[in-house]
Amino acid sequence: MENVTTLRETRNSGIHINWHRLLPWVIPVVLIILWQVAVTAGWLDSQLIPSPLSVLEDGVTLWQTGELEKNVSISLFRATVGFAIGGSLGFVLGLMNGLSKVARGLTDTTIQMFRNIPHLSLIPLVIILLGIGESAKISLVCVGVLFPIYINTYSGIRGIDPELMEMGRAYGLNRRQLFSKIVFPGALPTILVGVRYALGVMWTTLIVAETISSNSGIGYMASNAQEFMDMDTVLLCIVIYALLGKLSDIIAKTLESLCLEWQEKGGANQ
């Protein structure tokens, strides 16, 4: 919420208001205003659904006690490490299975079986195998992000136009050149969609992971608050997740626009 207002302010202080840039924030801002009005007017029981202002106050208090920064940074640490490990694994597996028939035959079925296991059901197993420390939480995030990246890398590579490959061969490109000039650039848009999706999954898996004997993290903060009907903190955590989700998305989008500039410049897809 803080971000919303600051964004508006900086943009309003510019020479002219760029309506297109404000447009995405209209619904969130309206929703928050409606929420505040509904609580102030007494349509919602403020015991059950506290107002945005009291949620903000709760955030400030938790910030002052140091709890908020501690939990957010710990969650970010777990998410990042989990994403890095799981993402690389997914990418390598996707690459392997996209390029090699043997690897595909060997591992694809197994991966597809693992993919649909609900993360929640893995928790007892994870506790037994990895204990209750950081590695348990990080490995759950790994499992979460592995599959979207795997599937998108795999299908990105499989989806390369065979005619393009043939043209490459006709030009006398060797295997390595084929990969770096045609396969990888062609698969990149799909891979980046996978990255974007995985960044979302990363946060959702983390909430689940942070309920395993945790005494830190946003997921812990939320489930703990819920246990004691501390609705301010519950809603604060939801807002934090929303903001972190948006932040991840902005990063993924920027990455996309940087990597795929050739498309806009009238490259292969035009």
């Binding site: 059950l48 940074s73 640490f77 990042t80 037994i128 004691f228 009907m229 990063i251 940087l258 500039e261």
Partner: protein, 281 residues
């Protein structure tokens, strides 16, 4: 030009992200030490938590060459899984998980028992409603969440929260029905090999409980901070209970045996058990 700006912004954001993540890493408790590690699993606001926050137990154990690490759990089931897998050495549980797990074949031993909490456990009903005795409950829905059901069976601090915040009154307490004690359990293997640790841990935990009895307002402040509950609620909780921790007596074994027998009759556990066997002898 614009591309350069985007790249710079992107890298800056990425660096900030990583910096916060690294900071987060140092916030986690991955401390290493040369002392013998003793890992204790607890649940929020239980006797072990009070001891943890007071800090005396850790100091005293350190003086004896043990590093006590506390791990918080959300429920007894997760604690039990962790205990079985050896992730924790001692677990602070309520009265039913040890019974259920002993029946499931786990080789656990009761290491210590807390004081009775019968005054904070009971049946709650809505204040001003038409339920005034247990007999009135016949045919009503039990459990409780804002007017959806008629009665709720729970324990402190939930009982006190409902009394203070949710316009509930305590219809009847567990007095004479169930003691609802806290227990510390360990696997038989660990308990056998670490009798000294158990002895010290229990002694210091007991000392902290004696302290808690004579410092109830400090304990109330402590609980109010950990649970994010108002002092009014925690005062009520603390006022109606006493703190203690000691070895398991034969009377306590009998109480647990009663729970086990009732559970067996009701089909909650599938095997008849002898609670006396879950002691280190």
């Amino acid at each position: 030009m614009k591309r350069k700006l985007t790249i710079t912004a992107f890298l800056l954001a990425l660096t900030a992200w990583l910096a916060v993540a690294v900071y987060g890493y140092f916030q986690t408790d991955v401390a290493t030490t040369s002392l013998t590690k003793v890992v204790v699993g607890y649940q929020k606001a239980d006797p072990v938590d009070i001891s943890r926050q007071r800090g005396e137990l850790v100091k005293k154990m350190k003086a004896k060459g043990y590093k006590v690490v506390f791990k918080e759990f959300q429920d007894g089931a997760a604690l039990m899984t962790a205990l079985k897998s050896g992730s924790i050495d001692y677990a602070r549980l309520g009265d039913t998980p040890p019974v259920v797990n002993q029946a499931a074949g786990m080789d656990l031993v009761y290491v210590g028992a807390g004081a009775s909490k019968e005054n904070g456990t009971g049946v709650l009903v809505k204040k001003g409603g038409n339920i005034n005795s247990l007999a009135d409950l016949k045919g009503k829905r039990i459990a409780y969440a804002k007017g959806k059901v008629d009665a709720w069976v729970t324990w402190d601090p939930y009982t006190a929260t409902a009394q203070v915040n949710q316009n509930a009154k305590l219809l009847i307490t567990a007095k004479g029905l169930a003691k609802n004690r806290d227990f510390v359990v360990a696997t038989r293997k660990y308990a056998k090999e670490n009798t000294t640790v158990t002895k010290l841990f229990l002694q210091y935990l007991g000392e902290d409980m004696t302290w808690a009895n004579s410092h109830k307002s400090e304990v109330s402040t402590m609980l109010s901070k950990t649970l994010h509950l108002s002092k009014k609620i925690t005062n009520l909780t603390v006022k109606r209970r006493s703190f203690a921790f000691s070895a398991v007596t034969s009377a306590i074994v009998k109480e647990q045996q009663t729970i086990a027998d009732v559970f067996y009759q009701e089909g909650i556990i599938k095997k008849q058990i002898n609670v006396g066997k879950a002691l280190l002898q």
